[in-house]
């Protein structure tokens, strides 16, 4: 229920004063071509060791080349929507792709292409580098050429849990006397259960709730994925339904406000045992590829574009373990 303070674009025009207004040319901005040209050595590694996963003719996501013989890791949940899967490494396209396995815990899939002599990534010795350290990732790509984006390690290595309580997926009317639903969120348990705008929540799991705090207190201890019995009133008629609870950090209304200013982000962006956070913010398709240090070594694998300002990568220690496990199978 916390509003995170940052104003969207509403006042831009007001501050555009002509006096002393100076602009930096696009090429010299952090994501500009001239600045990124300084990362040519790392780009050459990306060219060889970052795979491009295609859906038909369009670039979907990236992958990490982990063996000379065509073993590639990528983000599993993003594969689901791909209709016509093919893979490119360097300037060569591979139409035959086999899915060998997935690791749901890390959202990693193991793909195999019929290739030999590929250049797998070289793993960095540790992901425990200081915050502020440069990192480089696959940015956009033409059919034969990879481009890069650069950024820095932004925050502490940590778990991104789905805990923090389940959510119904409704926005309540503010300052109302009752728990009246103002909006039912898409892809939520509340929507599946048929709840509608205007319904008034009366009880959860048999416990009467009249205040937001009472509702929040019950939900706090409930896990995402479990169900709750919800009693509501619609036109003087009381009904009880089962509602599937969703991870709070993917469904609360404050995140929605942040999401609204985030553009594209990964559908699965929580429930990772450990992540490295960085500030490379390409399209949603930035995920799946390797994250390199200035030595061109793989410090992690990009696994989620979390929101407008945050990207997550699987740290190299965990990535190595996943890769070894996948290759053994």
């Amino acid at each position: 229920m916390h509003a995170k303070l940052l104003l969207p674009a509403l006042v831009l025009a007001l501050t555009a004063r002509s006096f002393g207004d100076q602009n930096l040319e696009t090429a010299y901005r952090s994501t500009g071509a001239t600045v990124l040209a300084a990362f040519e050595p790392q780009r050459q590694v990306i060219q060889k060791s970052s795979a491009v996963i295609y859906d038909g003719r369009s670039e979907a996501i990236y992958g990490v080349v982990i063996s000379p013989d065509g073993d590639i890791l990528t983000k599993a949940s993003e594969l689901q929507d791909i209709k016509k899967l093919s893979v490119a490494v360097d300037d060569k396209k591979y139409p035959e792709v086999t899915l060998l396995g997935t690791d749901p815990r890390w959202d990693v899939a193991h793909l195999k292409i019929d290739a030999s002599g590929l250049t797998p990534v070289t793993y960095a010795p540790t992901s425990a580098v200081p915050q502020g350290t440069w990192v480089v990732a696959n940015g956009a790509s033409t059919r034969t050429q990879r481009r890069v984006l650069a950024g820095i390690i932004s925050a502490k290595i940590r778990e991104i849990s789905t805990a923090g309580g389940g959510a119904l997926g409704v926005i309540l009317k503010p300052n109302a006397k009752e728990l009246e639903i103002a909006e039912v969120q898409d892809k939520s348990g509340a929507k599946e259960a048929g709840l509608q705008k205007g319904d008034v929540i009366l009880a959860l799991d048999g416990k009467k709730v009249a205040k937001l705090e009472e509702l929040a207190a019950i939900l706090k201890d409930r896990k995402a994925g479990s169900t709750a019995k919800l009693t509501y009133r619609r036109k003087n008629e009381e009904t009880t339904v089962e509602v599937r609870l969703i991870a709070r950090n993917e469904m609360t209304d404050d995140m929605n406000r942040n999401d609204a200013m985030s553009g594209e982000y990964s559908e699965r962006r929580s429930g990772f045992p450990r992540i490295l956070q960085h500030d490379i913010l390409g399209a949603k398709s930035i995920v799946g590829g390797p994250l390199l240090d200035l030595d061109g070594r793989c410090i992690g694998m990009n696994i989620a574009r979390a929101d407008r300002a945050e990207s997550y990568a699987i740290p190299v220690e965990d990535l190595k373990a996943i890769a070894e496990h996948m290759l053994k199978k």
Binding site: H2, A3, K4, L5, L6, L7, P8, A9, L10, V11, L12, L14, T15, A16, R17, F19, G20, D21, Q22, N23, L24, A27, Y28, R29, S30, T31, G32, T34, V35, A37, A38, F39, P41, P130, Q131, G132, T133, W134, G151, I152, S154, A155, K156, R158, E159, D254, M255, R257, N258, M261, S262, G263, Q277, D279, L281, L294, D307, R308, A309, E310
Partner: protein, 326 residues
Amino acid sequence: MKHLLACLLTAMSPWSAPAEAARPYVNDKKAPENRKDLETIQNALTSALGKARNATVCIELAQGSGSGVLVSEDGLVLTASHVSGGVNKDLTVVLEDGRKFKALSLGVVADTDAAMVKITDKEKFPFAEIDRNDSTRLGDWVFSLGHSGGFDKERGSVVRLGRLVRMTDSTYQSDCTLIGGDSGGPLFNLQGQLIGIHSRVGTNLPMNMHVPIQVFLKHWDGLLKAEFIGEGPFVKKPEKGKGFLGLATEARKEGGLTVTKVGKDTPAEKADIKEGDVLLKLNGTELKTREQFQGLLKEMAEGDALEIEALRADKPLTLTLKLGAR
């Protein structure tokens, strides 16, 4: 409050402590060209980061959270006016290590989104140095800190690197990407000096706007004196007559007003005013009739401080409170 302000004025001036870290040569290159240039940026950033982060705070309000930055040892914090929400507001400041302190908002510059807050708990705080020489230039490499999405001890404040891509007198724009919760947080140059405060974002990623530190320095005295400077749009000026106390009174024969009712969850209740209390003086003015009392309140606005001299069971007491919003 008067006492506190007097303290502030004598103890704090923005012109103390000289800060002279060298401006990295890479700022004067159009773009980094090689590994050495990139490492110069990285080394400057990593060495400035610790101190900068220790000075970065989360500001918690009833309705959400923003960020801010400590600029003096005794707890002066710079933030955005849409975070502090106005003058004389009670806030909580959370340090990087999770310690929480009580704070009060001082002045705001409503038309540029600048604001000042003072931690009222006594303590020696870590603080950031301010760039007082106006040394910032277009294209400079800069880094932002902020408690994106609220305080998270496991994560800490989040750092992002970018360049200053646009400058006007009232706004800097950088390509350090900001998100909700970062508002009021600091923008630093590579020497670790404070050059701006995060204000707002546009819909596309490179539109991240900051209030230049010069705006704060220009209005420093007014900010310290808890003045409401300028007009909107970042914070609304409290209107006279819209203040709310939440009690009913009737005139007493012997003078003063007897409290006949105290509303639930009102400023009066929070200030511990009880039914039967006799209100004698409001900010030094003797109270005679209900109409006169209401007239005095009408001249005040939300957030204004009241000092009420009263009698409870014939014993004198002084009650202090702030008017709420109607």
